[in-house]
């Protein structure tokens, strides 16, 4: 007797554990695998081709911060044109407009952009970086390049109001 496994629908590729943000709530490892141990371009490219052949419809490029990979444009381009749908899950911090243009040209369909708050002061405090203003710039570029956009907000109790102790550290949510 034979049976067939249903084919996979999505591939989630954690390209790196490196991340420029220092969010107070984050529990992701910063270095589960060191930079030197990350999979090289050719291995990821092969994985994406095989995933597409296996019928994967959605590919998430995530991390850490996937833009920390200098080969991110080549990775987005790997695999068949227009299949699967390619998503970049990013802080936006290392994004530049020319980089976004190159990613879109390579086949990027959709960006998930994280925000750590609705106000510059609290968002910067929560993320431990001066990142909020740049994320707003990235939003403008995304609109210009007309690709799909999802905003990811960390919904933590203090995200909507200023922190009281001003240190970026909290004693609980």
């Amino acid at each position: 007797m034979t049976f067939t496994l249903p084919n996979p629908l999505a591939l989630i590729a954690e390209l790196t554990h490196r991340c420029p943000l220092h969010c107070v709530y984050c529990s992701n490892p910063l270095e589960m695998q060191s930079r030197a141990n990350e999979l090289p371009t050719e291995v990821w490219s092969r994985v994406f081709k095989e995933a597409a052949e296996a019928g994967v419809l959605q590919a998430d490029f995530t991390g850490g911060e996937p833009l920390a990979r200098t080969d991110i444009v080549d990775l987005i381009r790997a695999g068949p044109r227009r299949r699967p749908l390619r998503h970049l899950i990013t802080s936006g911090l290392p994004m530049e407009e020319a980089k976004l243009a190159a990613l879109v040209e390579a086949g990027l369909d959709h960006i998930q952009l994280s925000f750590q708050g609705t106000r510059e002061d609290t968002a910067n405090e929560i993320s431990g970086t001066k990142s909020h203003a740049h994320k707003l710039r990235v939003l403008e570029w995304v609109k210009r390049h007309r690709i799909a956009l999802t905003l990811n907000f960390g919904t933590i109790a203090f995200a909507s109001r200023p922190l009281s102790n001003g240190t970026g550290k909290t004693t609980g949510t």
Binding site: L57, Q58, R82, R83, P84, D109, H110, A148
Partner: protein
């Protein structure tokens, strides 16, 4: 919203037709919708060229045994649903 009969629906950025195991699907960010029969006939025509009115007329021909009024209402409802799900834009 009720789609304007003269508008031309097209798939929104980040959405496209795909296939998995011979099953046609509408791919959207983080989601996929299986398309069969009328839903596939409708989405295949959301190409920025067909007007809503043309899509209705085409499907009324294909499903000529169904009440034409009902076909129209079903199509308008489905287009509005896809628009609410951010899968369609309408060019005027």
């Amino acid at each position: 919203m009720t789609p304007d009969p003269n508008s031309r629906p097209r798939l929104a950025p980040g959405c496209r037709l795909g296939e998995n195991n011979n099953q046609r699907v509408l791919l959207m960010p983080e989601r996929a919708l299986r398309l069969n029969g009328p839903s596939l006939e409708i989405v295949e025509r959301c190409d920025g060229k067909h007007t809503v009115g043309q899509i209705v007329a085409d499907l009324q021909k294909i499903y000529s045994k169904a009440a034409s009024e009902k076909v129209e209402q079903d199509i308008l409802g489905y287009l509005a649903l896809l628009h609410d799900q951010r899968a369609l834009d309408f060019d005027l």
